[in-house]
Symmetry: C2
Subunit: 488 residues, 2 copies
């Protein structure tokens, strides 16, 4: 996002609609859009929201160049009047957002945009692109790191990422979700996060034999000596040669800060256990065993169950593409529109699929924590003007199965509002923390989620309820539209 100006990174229909709003004389009507998603990726019990810093950069840098305008003119779709208006285009509205690294659930507005429809419509596509991508990878990383049970997880996916940005911002999101480092040097530079890596098979192949290759590597990097042992034969050649080199280092009184091996093929459970024995027997209990090779949260959990002696995991393709679920289904829906009398009127989108009916109005999200444990009890989507008070009883009910209710006594719960102001009247009022700070915050936020909700399959689902007021509004609007719009 540094570099290439992304102002034209939008779907054409956003711009045809803009011209349409202008011609219909409604372009300055203030509207509220919610950016939310409907289903957690990978059957997860939660998601981690990410990408806000890049979304902010995008909004700040919105500006049509003369070249952009010439291009738009060449499409023979837009009036000169409209194109001229774009010359001064900037975002003048308000954006509230859930901070990056926060645990989030379906239906919650991750961003809430209030602006003239001319602006709010335009920014839809790029906001979705940025937030969808990074939230997807941050969520996947959180799952992988959870499976690794505190072991170091390194992001190694750049070569299989869906283009340069997917590698760069995917690495950023993976760090937010809990990775301890990335192989991506550019991401390391841009986000000030640890970069990791030693050598590849080609290093070994480019020397006359494996032992020479290992010796040369240890000579070049005596401090950080992780040797890849599977080029020829892991247990018969790789590990013995690595041990030989570690002995030679020892004889020369060289003590690497990090020393060990990397497995990149074969059965990682078996090979790691055998390699561990060989290293221990040779007097190198401090030698690390790291592994890479089509890893994901399921395989890591399985290998752990089988007693694999791996303590550092390099995760590539399946993390950087979120292979089993490569899209985060964020959408951007109209929630309210100011009418000619200046009143912000709630808006709703119906659907054949009841789960796709939107929540109308200007909303906020209240997270309800169990006071005794600090864990998340439920989230409550409410109208912005509603006031909730920790000193009063709180009644929650499921918006689909309304008989599912819980009543919380004062003193047993605490409340937190998730949306924070990011832009007010077009001015950015939010300063993004560093990636390592967001990573630390995410770790703390994940600690408020029950392990039952982090389970890789069939997790416990945290309730996301509607306030009574929002529930009633929604129900009434559905009935009204059904009555007015369809004549049987």
């Amino acid at each position: 996002m540094n570099g290439l100006n992304l102002t034209l990174l939008t779907d054409l229909y956003e711009m045809t609609m803009m011209q349409g709003y202008k011609q219909a004389h409604v372009k300055n009507h203030e509207v509220v859009f919610d950016l939310f998603y409907r289903t957690n990726p990978c059957n997860s019990g939660f998601a981690i929201v990410a990408g806000l810093e890049q979304a902010i950069d995008y909004i700040k840098n919105l500006s049509f160049s003369e070249e952009d305008l010439d291009y738009l003119r060449s499409l023979n779709l837009f009036s000169e009047d409209f194109i001229n208006e774009l010359r001064a285009f900037r975002f003048t509205g308000d954006i509230y957002a859930i901070p990056e690294g926060t645990v989030v659930f379906p239906k919650e507005p991750l961003l809430r945009v209030k602006a003239p429809i001319f602006e709010a419509q335009f920014i839809e596509t790029a906001l979705l692109n940025i937030i969808n991508h990074q939230s997807l990878i941050a969520t996947k990383a959180a799952r992988v790191c959870w499976a690794a049970e505190g072991d170091s997880v390194l992001e190694f996916g750049l070569r299989r990422a869906q283009g340069p940005d997917a590698g760069i911002y995917g690495a950023r999101a993976a760090m937010i979700g809990g990775c301890t480092g990335t192989s991506n040097v550019l991401a390391g530079k841009m986000f000030d996060v640890p970069v990791k890596g030693t050598h590849a098979h080609s290093w070994v192949m480019s020397f006359p034999d494996e032992l020479t290759a290992f010796r040369e590597y240890a000579k070049a990097f005596p401090d950080n000596c992780i040797l890849l042992v599977d080029t020829y034969d892991t247990l018969k050649s790789g590990v013995p040669n690595a041990i030989q080199v570690f002995k030679e280092l020892k004889e020369n009184n060289i003590k690497p800060k990090v020393m060990g091996i990397r497995l990149d093929s074969g059965d990682l459970a078996y090979l790691s256990k055998e390699a561990r024995k060989m290293l221990d027997n040779a007097g190198f209990p401090e030698a690390i065993i790291s592994a890479s090779s089509d890893l994901d949260e399921y395989l890591i959990a399985d290998l752990k169950r089988q007693g694999a002696k791996i303590t550092m995991w390099g995760v590539g393709t399946r993390l950087i593409t979120s292979k089993d679920c490569p899209a985060f289904g964020g959408v951007y829906k109209l929630a309210a529109e100011r009418n000619d009398e200046g009143v912000l009127v709630p808006k709703i989108k119906l659907s054949e699929n009841p789960d796709k009916v939107t929540n109308p109005g200007v909303k906020k999200i209240i997270r309800v924590y169990e006071k005794a444990t600090g864990k998340i009890k439920a989230d409550l989507i409410a109208l912005e003007e509603e006031v909730f008070d920790e000193t009063k009883p709180l009644k929650l009910f499921d918006p689909v199965n309304t008989w599912k209710q819980m009543k919380l006594k004062p003193g047993t719960f605490t409340l937190r509002e998730l949306l924070v102001p990011v832009f007010i009247n077009g001015e950015c009022v939010y300063e993004s923390p560093s990636v390592m700070e967001i990573r630390e915050y995410c770790k703390q936020d994940l600690a408020t989620l029950w392990d039952e909700s982090k389970r890789l399959t069939n997790p416990h689902i945290i309730p996301v309820d509607l306030s009574k007021k929002l529930y009633d509004l929604k129900k009434q609007m559905i009935d009204a539209i059904r009555d007015s719009n369809i004549e049987e």
Copy 2:
């Protein structure tokens, strides 16, 4: 790739290896690397290679800034000597590549890099990133367009792409694979490809009612009037309102160039057939029915089989992420290295998995066409110095099941070499065609592939054979390494 300099877009281990090669005094050893893949994505019978233009830009723009060097220095991994050397780094070698838009098969070198190991190693990660991503999406697009049987397929995935580049270069690759347009305005500008789109649900919702929304849209864009009809109820509200607006246009003697509806939810087979009847009965047989909604090649083929009356397909998430297979498994393997005597010695990588053993030596690819049909009979991977002649009989055999053989008589086949020179001694000698030219070439190249190999599931696999000389070399090298490297 315009904008942000991608020189640091690499895995850290490429750079630690570079410093290692330097310290081991082998950094100027000339090597040959092959970029190839092992399995077609999506169980396809073929792939479409793409991304060469961006790979060329990357190579041309390689240059470490002082800021990059300061960053590398800060890692405390690299010697000052090494960092100084990077200041003048550029690519000085040769690259041969298969032109973008070509039908390719597993194991074939898509790019062949010959350069000092110091350079050839460095460019691995970025080349893989670029070629893997665009080849994945071009292949997916070719499958989707094949399923659409000549209907227009529009790329609508930007909001679900894995970051901005995935949207931009994914759109480029989708066009190469056969799409007729993209919703992505920036991609339209950068690659001079058609951009498409009309309006969203939010347009409809922002007006008091659907009919008003449609009227306003038709007023703003009388020439290109595709109305989205599923905001409230497709058949009871959307289509009747669209017909009403088409009638009003007719009454006012306005004849749109493109007129029709878009379905975006519900059962597309049923709804399109009903909508077709309603439009025809109202006197609008020219009105197009387009559809979008979680489409991919399988659903399009199914809807076609069920007689859906859709002739324009907007394909989003499942195309731009290649959802069922979101990574193209390209790898970059050492194939040869010049020894101290100046001889280019073939190199091989073994693996427990026989399919992962690499093909050694400097290779070329010969495509064998059946003369009578112009269709692809087989591909032949051979050593660069081998000569094949259409006037002599050609014997082919399967490199795994060697009893599978075919002998072609002169006059029954034609030959074509797939790899073309792109960089010679660091100078670019290749001019990339425009995206629309590549798209046209791809269409022609796909016509040389049998329909049996385009089948979505269980396609006929085109043989990719090794020349006798390459086969013998490989066999001999496997035996030699097994003997020398492993002592039982």
